[in-house]
């Protein structure tokens, strides 16, 4: 009886591992009907669910809605969850240049593939073009706004040690509170260690998470990871350090559109390009702070901003 129970447990845990392996949110329930020609019809947009992505996605939604489209919006936790259904059943994705490029690269060339992105926007776009063609995806105009990793210290630490840029930390032993994917990344642990010569000990507490802020404010770690668009730092007495040796890839905001969908609906390009032109780090940072600090809904903030910019009526 013990044996039978143990075997049962073994089979059960085995099947759990298998289901875990293929877990993933079902982004689009069905293939949207896209045959209704330009200037309307159904469109599915998908993105990640953190505040910044949710806000930008809400802007896309408003714009497309304004252009006469029936918009279905899906927000999920991770990029691979929607990327596997893009461009098949997802039509438009608010993306970041380097993030999309590197993900397509690892999808196509395996987990160990050399990253193709760099801090140079044009070079990165050029390097990812073959992968985009292969996937059937077209990028519209990238924005000046770029959501890159950034590293912060407390104002006090900055003043006491005269640290304003990352190279000031060269040769120091630093505890870094960051996302668990930081380890080995050129824009995070590996870059800080190799390019800046900082001796990094990683605490995997999350990207701009409450735990990460707390750890730096409490002095458990000296350096914390957030993004260039973080509008909450000031209030917490934290300051960003300048990336003076350029380890951050070009994470400019960019609309990624299914090439097939774009060919049938050319009119989606113009409003999305206008949105990209209207955004820069400061504007977007303030808007995100309204969502993440003031708890306004992404939809309200998006509508407000687009009306103010005259992008929708």
């Amino acid at each position: 009886m013990t044996l039978r129970r143990t075997l049962f447990a073994a089979v059960l845990s085995g099947s759990l591992i298998l289901t875990a392996g293929c877990a993933g949110d079902d982004v689009a329930d069905d293939d949207a009907d896209n045959d209704s020609g330009s200037g309307g019809g159904a469109v599915t947009i998908a993105s990640q669910s953190f505040d910044e992505a949710a806000l930008v996605t809400a802007m896309y939604e408003e714009l497309l809605d304004d252009a006469g489209y029936e918009v279905t919006k899906k927000l999920v936790d991770t990029r691979p969850a929607y990327l596997s259904e893009f461009p098949a059943s997802v039509d438009i994705v608010p993306e970041y240049v380097a993030g999309l490029g590197d993900q397509l690269n690892t999808d196509a060339n395996g987990e160990g593939a050399e990253p193709i992105s760099s801090s140079d926007l044009d070079a990165t776009l050029e390097a990812m073009q073959p992968l985009l063609d292969e996937k059937g995806v077209t990028l519209l105009d990238p924005s000046e706004a770029a959501s890159q990793n950034a590293y912060f210290v407390t104002q006090e630490y900055s003043d006491d040690n005269g640290v304003t840029k990352l190279s000031d930390l060269e040769g120091e032993s630093i505890k870094l509170a960051a996302a668990p994917d930081c380890e080995g990344r050129d824009d995070c642990e590996a870059g800080l260690a190799d390019v800046y010569g900082i001796d990094i000990e990683l605490l995997p507490l999350g990207y701009a998470s409450p735990q990460t802020y707390q750890s730096v404010i409490d002095g458990e770690s000296q350096l914390g990871q957030t993004g260039t668009l973080d509008g909450t730092l000031d209030d917490q007495g934290l300051v960003l350090l300048e990336d003076d040796r350029g380890i951050q890839p070009a994470q400019n905001l960019v609309p990624a559109v299914s090439s097939e969908f774009l060919a049938e609906h050319e009119d989606v390009a113009e409003p999305l390009n206008a949105l990209m032109a209207a955004l820069d780090n400061e504007t977007l940072g303030e808007l995100i702070a309204r969502v993440s600090i003031d708890r306004e809904t992404p939809e309200d903030v998006a509508e407000d901003f687009l009306e103010q910019e005259g992008l929708i009526d």
Partner: protein, 234 residues
Amino acid sequence: MTLLELTWDYLTTAGSWTGNGGLLDRLVEQLLLTVTALLLGMGVGLPLALWLGHIGRGGFLAVNVSNIGRAIPTFALLAVLVTADWPGPAQLGPYGRAGLATLIALALFALPPLVTNAYTAVREVSADVLEAADGMGMSGRQRFWRVELPLALPLVVSGVRLALVQVWATATIAALVAGPGVGAIIVSGFARNKYSEGIGAAFVVAVAALVLELLAAAAQRAVQPGRGATVRTS
């Protein structure tokens, strides 16, 4: 290479096991975490549950209070403990970051099977046997140590065995607050798109759970009352 082959590669590479933060390191951390949390749970839960079973009162309350542990997600509890001023995320010796918070959360998680089994085990000792014990003139204390506990032991140990395997597998959540254990490899593997490492480490946790289960099953067999008796009479 397929994911399965990559995972096999990862598991059969010596470098994955040795070294700082390798699988062996993490396994030892997790075992330490599991055993300590289980002992804490046993230290609190077993005496109480056995005593309540002995006097035959208050068990309903005890079982239900400990069952709150089942209703509260362990990770939620851990998150609250880590955010609180005490115990907070402080380092605790070999238990690593947020060690105390993790131990408390896991010990509470271990309570329901321990308390339920121990209480039921003592309560379910046959009334005839108890009457016989009373008839022999045993005091309450004698009755407990010589009759109730030996007869209850297999079920008590089965509760410990259940708690052991549950706590072992759940101890991986320590990684979510940058704590110790194999969970650190699982989380970091999935976060870095190195699914082979995440799945490989999860597989190791599952296999270790089965090994623990087998060991605990052997321990349970050893305390089966029938066996001791046959040895003594033969």
